[in-house]
Amino acid sequence: MSVGNRLSRQLSRVRENTDAVRDRQAIEGILFALPYLLVFSIFLLYPLLKGLYMSLFDWNAIYPSESEFVLLDNYVRMMNDPLFWVAVKNTVYFVVLTVPTLVILGLLLALGVNRQIKGRKFLRAVFFSPYILTVSVVALIWIEMYAPQYGVFNYYIELALGSAPNWLNSHLFAMPALALTTIWWTLGFNFVILLSARQGVPERLYEAARLDGASSWNAFKDITLPQMKPALLFVTVVQFIASFQIFGQPFIMTGGGPGNTTETVVMYLYKAAFNQHEFGYAAAVGYFLFVVLVGVSLVNYRLAGGPDE
């Protein structure tokens, strides 16, 4: 009886002890997490919810309390605005011009630099370096490259073809010109990730294929591509998301022109919010972006085989 008593008392003391340890760890854990969680909730989660809320109002930028609830009017207006669809079309065109090129060229350069060649470090530095520049520097340099009177391109193109386009003022060439600038700017990111992914492919797979007499094309198709699939999907999605949100290049280089040919979704959003002060409407455009880009991420997640792979 007394032995049993003592035992149970001891047991409960041990339990109290572990309870106390657990409580202390829980308190410490929450304290350590708190600073980030505060910033995260205030500056990321809260705006995300507030944006949805704002998009349902004819938002009064000066007196928010006088905003008028309009339910889905902003979304309806967006769907009925031809300029919005022009912006969507231009953005998709820009995505089509940049994403495949950035992924394929990045892959080719990565496979090339992965070979036993001289100056690999130099090449890596050259291909990566533009990625560290800010969009203003990139845009301003390329304005000088494209300048019709004294720029670099046109002299040589005229020499070869007789005449050259007025790049940034041309309906036909303005968007491709922005795409070329963007490829120069961000190729390095894909290149570095794909190079690292290629270096992660076990060399014995290639040796086995060589012994089986596989051609280098077959080795590429059956080993390189499948082994690099996660990295290729990753850069494709990251590039898609980045290209879909293109803003700085047209904002600085063309202002959306000529004749709205380089007006993009984020430009459209920016103008609605900060030129026309239509915050509710701009928030609705923001949510359109959100749905499109989250959709793309989720499709990629599915393609990549979910969390288990």
Partner: protein, 288 residues
């Protein structure tokens, strides 16, 4: 006999194809590298070119004489130096804040047990899908309500909310051996000491990579500072450069001198710490 010559011929043909391929590889890679360098050369060339050669129809890659007038002019006539200091302050403060709060929460999520931590981690990871520009309108109203328009804090705080650093550090902190942590606890280390004296020094390389990446991306921010910073004296370099290009009498030499000066600090960082920067990008690819 005939077999052998057959093999020999095959071997030589193979060799020729191989050396052709190698030559093609060199031409391709160095050709692209040359094209990649052209914009830099053109920027440099324009920035030191005298005015009368600037608008020549035939591009003078190498100016007949080198002048530093454009540099002197842009430094004396614009607020470039001020903008550089502002950018440095914003990028520096963002980096320090990100390192501190991200490492604290990554430590807490991987080394301490508390209720709800799994949900917290999945919410943070899910927030990766929130595209950077979606939030700008509600975020602007929030920053305006807090009275932070045109202040550095208004730029910095939203930049520190991103999930990338937490995500990266969680990967590394998770792999830290339990035995070392338990031994330290038996030696009487407090939780904070385990974090500050044990964990942080051993996590130097992921922390450095994260620091560099954060510094470069916040240095380069464009849309958000453009919205928040509304007085010329508070501009960062990316914003200042663009207003310079639209406000001054258009002078390519002047603009290229400004872009040279504006990109110089990051080029120095890049040349010195290339490997860390590249590894910061690489880590994103392997964990993404």
């Amino acid at each position: 006999m005939s077999d052998e010559t057959g093999v020999g011929r095959e071997g030589r043909r193979f060799l020729d194809v191989e050396s052709l391929r190698t030559a093609g590889l060199y031409v391709g890679l160095y050709g692209v590298a040359f094209l990649f360098l052209l914009p830099y050369l053109w920027m440099l060339s324009l920035s030191v070119k005298p005015r009368d050669e600037m608008f020549s129809k035939v591009p003078h890659w190498i100016p007949s004489e080198v002048t530093f007038d454009w540099y002197a002019f842009v430094l004396s006539e614009s607020m470039l130096a001020r903008w550089m200091l502002n950018t440095f302050a914003i990028a520096g403060a963002t980096t320090v804040l990100v390192l501190v709060i991200d490492s604290l929460i990554a430590f807490s999520l991987t080394r301490l047990d508390w209720p709800g931590q799994r949900i917290v981690l999945s919410v943070i990871i899910a927030s990766f899908m929130v595209p950077a520009y979606v939030n700008i309108v509600p975020l602007y109203t929030l920053v305006a309500d807090l009275g932070l328009v045109s202040s550095f804090a208004g730029v910095i705080l939203p930049l520190t909310a991103g999930p990338l650093g937490v995500f990266l550090l969680v990967q590394f902190f998770r792999d830290f051996p339990d035995e070392i942590e338990e031994a330290a606890r038996l030696d009487g280390f407090s939780t904070f000491q385990i974090y500050s004296r044990l964990m942080l020094p051993l996590m130097k390389s992921p922390l450095t990579a994260l620091a560099l990446f954060t510094f470069v991306t916040s240095w380069n921010q464009f849309l958000w500072p453009l919205i928040v910073l509304q007085s010329e004296a508070s501009y960062t370099l990316p914003i200042g450069l663009v207003t310079l290009s639209s406000s001054q009498v258009f002078q390519p030499g002047l603009m290229m001198a400004a872009t040279m000066l504006a990109s110089l600090p990051l080029f120095v960082v890049f040349l010195l710490l290339q490997d860390y920067l590249i590894s910061a990008v690489r880590i994103q690819g392997t964990t993404g």
